[in-house]
């Protein structure tokens, strides 16, 4: 079953699911209209042989990263003259459609078919929440905790949705574009 056949089959079962506007290059990328579609689609994919949940991640499309939030010294190169252009920089690109949206991404692999499918879902930045996949895939446990920790996505029904990578005292979700680091005892 190549990706075209798969897409046709998914279209038959889930007419609301469409191809994503910006696909992941070389791979079939689907866009979910609403989070209610996630569990049925996942279950269907799992039955269709896509039983290997490879990756769970999310992207914050708010805008360029706020460097002042956490980079202490943009010019860390001591050989640069005073007032030189920062080595590290981050600026908005003209024409890129920044939007206050967190785009969630799952990728499923079919080991027998040697294909993978990416599933995208747009979530509002204020209260991003999706149903958990821990009931279907045990690997979702830690990966969802990671995404929760770093991106702040709430997984409904996750058995143990706690921080995993960042320290307990850290406020906020570091991978959000507007994250501002609050000084703690390890600074200076």
């Amino acid at each position: 079953m190549n990706s075209e056949e798969l897409f046709a089959k998914i279209q038959a079962g889930f007419p609301a699911v469409e191809r994503a506007a910006i696909p992941v290059k070389d791979y079939l990328t689907l866009r979910l209209p609403a989070k209610e579609q996630l569990l049925p689609l996942t279950k269907w994919l799992r039955q269709a042989g896509y039983d290997y949940l490879e990756m769970i991640t999310a992207t914050d499309f708010k805008g360029p990263v706020d460097m002042n939030g956490y980079i202490r010294q943009p010019n860390f190169n001591p050989f640069l003259p005073e007032g030189a252009t920062p080595e590290i920089e981050s600026a908005a690109t003209a024409g890129f459609p920044y939007k206050p949206v967190i785009e969630h991404l799952w990728s499923f692999v079919s080991i027998s078919d040697k294909t993978r499918v990416f599933v995208k879902l747009e979530l509002p930045r204020e209260a991003p929440s999706v149903p958990t996949l821990t009931g279907l895939f045990k690997t979702a446990d830690w990966q969802e905790r990671e995404t929760f920790d770093l991106m702040g996505v709430i997984y409904e029904g996750h058995p143990n949705l706690t921080k995993i990578l960042t320290p307990d005292f850290l406020q906020g979700h570091p991978l959000r574009k507007d994250y501002v680091h609050i000084k703690d005892r390890f600074d200076e």
């Binding site: 920089e89 981050s90 890129f96």
Partner: protein, 379 residues
Amino acid sequence: MSDIATPPALATSSLKTDQMFINMGPQHPSTHGVLRIALTLEGEVIVKAVPDIGYLHRGTEKLAEVRGYHHCIVLTDRWDYVSAMPNNLVFCLAAEKLLGVKAPARADTLRVVMCEMNRIASHLLFMGTYGIDTGAFTPFLYAFREREMVLDLFEMLCGARLTYNYIRLGGVMTDVTPEWIGRLKEFLVYFKPRLDEYNTLLTFNPIFMARTKGVGCITPQEAVNWGLSGPNLRGSGVNYDARKHDPYCGYETYEFDVPLGEEGSCWDRYYCRVREMRESVRIIEQALAKLPDGPVMAPGVAKVPKPAPGESYAHVEASRGDLGIYLVSDGGISPFRMHVRAPSFVNLAMLEEKLVGMKVADVIAILGSIDIVLGEVDR
């Protein structure tokens, strides 16, 4: 396996003892870095195990968002620091997809050679430390004797022994010299018989087999459900190898086998790695035989690349499993978002469930057999 996995004595025992809580790590000789496992023990049997990670979290995914594409390769070296070549490679593959650059044939072959050499070095480290974990100190030094040679070759090639930064966007850093190739061939000739030596010394040692066979068994269904990859998945008998399933760098042109385990025990995972070293030697030999002439760097890779907006995903079969990178570009000079699908992180998650009912000594055997690198777990 089932009689080991569940402690029936505990359930029926009328003798009530206090449970003991033990912190294994982050300062412990066998947690392979700064991993902490909070163990609750009933005698020597584990009732509950909670892995605690994040001691080495450096936020490389965030750091990548303010660095140029070339600079990000330096960050990749620091994930799986015992086999950094596949890390370099996977980032370059993802970025090359965004840039629309294709590495020349010679560079592709060299990438394959480096990745396989690094796989040998990494598996040697695993074999040595797994010997120490099970109490045999000697294989460690034999493994390091050979690993040093691989690292010497890397040092000769790119000046670094651990963080290579050798694979670059559009190719590799430098070409190899004929002298270097001669050294590599010498090493291969020397290395092949050593594998049998390791098997005699450790793999088929009855005590070692008693310690690892039938311990920490993972069924294929479990392995797939846990999202395991690399030798951990193949040790359970699931034939999934990114080099075969989604070939990159021309892996489809090489002839090699994918070693599979039978019962998914610690010993199977271990033996998969030992056999993978032999396959790596085969791949390197084929690559050296067909090493094409030509440039090692594709023309037209900018000093400050600005790929068109888009998303890409690349994954390679790294030493520890399926290492993937998801890159989003907004057309700027640095990645808009980089996500690492780190195999060690995903593999480690199963520890919580697998340790229950085991002995304290088995914690080390199972943890060692998953072969994690904390730099990759925490990123």
